[in-house]
Amino acid sequence: MLNWKLHLVVLVLVVIAEKIGNFTINLGIGKVVLLPMMYALIMGTLTCLKSVKISGEKEMKVASSLLGVTLMLLMAKYGTIIGPTLPKILAASPALILQELGNLGTVLIGIPLAVYIGLKREAIGAAHSVAREPNVAFIGERFGLDSAEGRGVMGVYICGTVIGTIFFGLMASIFATYLPLHPYALAMAAGVGSASMMTAAVGSLSALYPNMADQLAAFGAASNMLSGLDGLYMSIWLALPLSEWLYTKTYKLKYGELPPSVVEKAKEKEE
């Protein structure tokens, strides 16, 4: 816990990362955003390289035991962001609460695909949700972020942070143009728990339907806030159990045997 070398390294990385600040790269079709947290992550892994050897075995161990707790601080902040907006959200539309169930679509498509292309337990972390901060915290608490599940959720989290805005901006225009979905529904659905992704999607929709811009922004923002609360409970009670189940099924289909994690659990029960 009190590994001062580790904390000193982190302190230096944090200061460097925040000093560099945000970078936005405009690609024409959308923006790629680089944030200090990503530099901190990359620099952190680099300190572990055998040729650099700043962070050793001990530091890595302490860092991973600290992670679960550190995420709680972020979640506390998350809660205080949602709280003040709750009355407005609840008044907006009951559809906001239920559309969170759509996140299960992630599991139904994501898990089979992840297993098919060869991911093991990473699949659970990567495809049980859209992998925003609360999901990362949840997986971190349940499995540890240095586990296979943790690698999965961190990977998708990082992808989302880097290309999420472009992706959601593009999807919103494509869906609005080619699918028979109402812009309100598309605005609500964009609130997956990331302000930047939601803003990008609502931005595209507002460009297509300028006279609805205010309502679209309101639905998007409300749904985005709510995702952090009811989306989290949905991950805990529905999405993760469903992911586990689907993982076992698809694993058996692909490899012709039960996943090692399930076999181990069954053995434990027998003993």
Binding site: L71, A95, E122
Partner: protein, 148 residues
Amino acid sequence: MNMKDTIIALSIVGFMSLISNVVGTKHAFVDAIPGMIVLVAIAIAGIGLGKVLPGKIPAVAYVVTLGCILTFPGVPTAEFINEAVKKVGFLQLCTPILAYAGIAIGKDLDIFVTEGWRIVVVACVVFAGTYLGSAVIAQAILKAIGQI
């Protein structure tokens, strides 16, 4: 991790976040301290509840829910907490966490490199699946209640 270690860990990370906050935002170090103390307290309370209460609900749910309740408009603590935590940036809180995460996953760097492309593919499908799934349900409900 026991409660004492949890509190020590939160205090250390809280301090790191204050540094991150002072470098990354326009808020002064001292101004952000009350907000940080509130956040640490909410986190400790949430983790404590997760340990004490039955039902195997993870602490993260208690922490988020507690944060919501304490800032819900009209609750006596809401105004003070809102003002205090406003001075602690969300993105600045992420920076130290991901620095620790980077060091923690350092030992698996080679796995990350070899599996990276698979995760990126899954990520794209996950985003599309979530968005489409939610949009279809939202469409159905909005129609059912006559909002569209």
